[in-house]
């Protein structure tokens, strides 16, 4: 597993733990390899920022 995908997996696990939609996030993880580099970066950035925002809100 490459670094970006490992980060994605870890971020998704944390988001699911705080009740984000597991089915949707598992879908993103499943299609991650089918995305371009730029698309992967955008998805990962979105999820990391959501996790940070949730932590801040809590």
């Amino acid at each position: 597993m490459n670094t970006r995908k490992a980060k994605l997996h870890e971020t998704i696990e944390r988001l699911i733990a705080i009740h984000e939609d597991a089915a949707e996030l598992r879908y993103w993880e499943s299609i991650f390899d089918n995305l371009s580099d730029q698309e992967q970066e955008m998805v990962l950035s979105n999820l990391e920022h959501e996790l940070a925002a949730v932590k801040e809100a809590q």
Binding site: Y27, L35, E39, H49, E50, Q58
Partner: protein
């Protein structure tokens, strides 16, 4: 005690609002991704097919009947429209242009019954004709397979769109002749 409870409620609301914004962003991302994949597949497999309208359909923020979609619905809608759009393009590939023009999206989608058989057929078609899209098709099919009523809604909307204004999805018989 009451002073401790109030911030907890506010934090939950703030958290939900923050999460919804990121979901909206992801729905838009998936709309763009499916548009690109449909356009890329059509360009390679069915040159001359003007798929812009179909691809754009995946990016609509509301249903054909005007129901406004929330972030989760938009994402589901984009996944379904993307899957059906890709399947349509794959089905047309290899056909004579005249046959494509005669067939049309309404006829193709109108006979489509979404279920395990269709998922298998779509997957096989993609593996045969556009291997680079096969994995995306399979994963998306797996994601949408339990969203039967929404699939019907999207399918009906696409058929209505194509029936009411056939020019939106057209075939240029002279292009790439």
């Amino acid at each position: 005690m009451r002073m401790e409870m109030e911030p907890a409620f506010e934090t939950d609301t703030e958290t939900e609002v923050a999460m919804e914004g990121f979901r909206e962003e992801r729905a838009e991302m998936l709309q763009d991704i499916t548009k690109r994949k449909i356009a890329e597949t059509a360009l390679l497999l069915t040159p001359g097919l003007d798929i812009a309208a179909l691809a754009t359909f995946a990016a609509r923020g509301e249903t054909f009947v005007g129901k406004k979609l929330d972030a989760r619905e938009r994402l589901n809608y984009a996944a379904i429209a993307g899957f059906l759009g890709l399947f349509y393009v794959l089905q047309l590939s290899g056909m004579e242009k005249e046959a494509i023009a005669a067939r049309g999206i309404a006829a193709t989608l109108g006979t489509m019954e979404f279920g395990p058989d269709l998922l298998e057929k779509a997957s096989a078609l993609a593996r045969e004709r556009m291997p680079s899209a096969a994995s995306f098709m399979e994963k998306t099919g797996d994601f949408i397979k339990d969203k039967q009523s929404l699939i019907e809604d999207v399918r009906r909307s696409m058929i209505e769109l194509a029936t009411n204004d056939p020019g939106l999805i057209s075939l240029n018989l002279n292009e790439h002749a």
